[in-house]
Amino acid sequence: MEVIFRIKRFDGTRQYWGEYPVPAEKGMTVLEGLYFIKEKYDGSLAFRASCRMAICGSCAIKINGKPMLACETQILHLNTTKINIEPLDNFKVIKDLITEFEGFFSKHEAVKPYLIRKDDNYQEPVELVQTPEELYAYYDYTLCIKCGACYSVCPAAATREDYLGPAAMAAAYRFNTDSRDEGSAERFAVVCTDKGVWRCHFAAECSEVCPKGVEPAKAVQKLRFKSAIYALKRIFSGR
């Protein structure tokens, strides 16, 4: 069945729409359609892709107005003969479907997404024991592949450039909830700010579009509550 891919193109100066007919078959993904267009019609079409199996997070794009991973979206499952493909919102577009991710990654970096321990000693390493229950407390939030879909639909991220975003804050919550971690205070210092949890108003669209079921909206609300407790403790301790 022929499906028209209507792609928002951008060459650095000019923005325009390109229409490309793709002979879609059962099982063919949108990513395969993009490769087909690149091979048969226009080699200048630019998009990011790598693993083809929804684990690297490279190929998140807007398909008919909703952000999805191109590699796991089957063309015929969209039930339409015309597909609108655009780059993710809230990111600066470099070319066609490729957007700037530097800011997104630096926000993730800012929440210190690694285990922080006082007894960090490479000479005498200690086994960090964790029960299955302790793992389940944060496991869902480890599934994030940093695709940027959540950030692209967030209304707070749309209007404030420095807003940390759902992905970064889900990562902060993931590490704060990890029983092996001792760096919560350092992370609260970053997220308990006006560019952190207090910018979230529970539009909850992030959880709706997350391709891995991470539920970032839940992470942010739980992080928010814990941040408030942290802030109150600081008020009363006078620090």
Binding site: T13, Q15, F91, K92, E100, E102, G103, S106, K107, E109, A110, P155, A156, T159, R160, E161, D162, L164, A168, A189, V190, C192, T193, D194, K195, W198, R199, H201, R224, S227, A228, A231, L232, R234, I235, R239
Partner: protein, 137 residues
């Protein structure tokens, strides 16, 4: 086509704006959660008080909006207290809400201190103005 500008400072320092003093940081970190908690508490309070206010004006009797009845209510101490509480809650909730909206923008980020000051003034101004009407009766 306008550029979507990502300040270089934020990229180099991992997205965390470097603060000048610990005190400024403390105030900033305390003001926001306090604002949020009060926003939710006043929201809860308003859900009750506004419902009561609406019920009283439009359901409890047929002539609640007549001048005499209004003055009668405003002269009663119990009502005065209720109205003062309603006024304080709604002043805080409305103008803090607008403040939160402003802080969702780049404009808000650049002018945070001014917006905080103006919001505080407007909240107090609205409350004391309403109070001045209440004490007349």
């Amino acid at each position: 086509m306008a550029d979507r500008f990502i300040p270089a400072l934020q990229i180099r320092h991992g997205g965390v704006k470097m603060e000048k003093t610990e005190k400024a940081l403390h105030t900033k970190r305390v003001l926001e959660p306090a604002g949020w908690i009060l926003q939710l508490l006043t929201g809860l309070l308003l859900a009750i008080l506004v419902t009561f206010h609406f019920y009283e004006i439009h359901f409890a009797s047929h002539n609640a909006m007549e001048f005499d009845k209004v003055v009668e209510r405003l002269s009663d101490t119990g009502y005065k207290v209720m109205y003062a509480l309603l006024l304080l809650s709604v002043s805080f909730h409305a103008f803090n809400g607008l403040r939160a909206i402003a802080f969702d923008t780049e404009f808000g980020l650049r002018n945070s201190r001014t917006i905080n000051a103006i919001t505080a003034l407007i909240i107090l101004g609205a409350f004391f103005y309403g109070l001045s009407l209440l004490v007349m009766f």
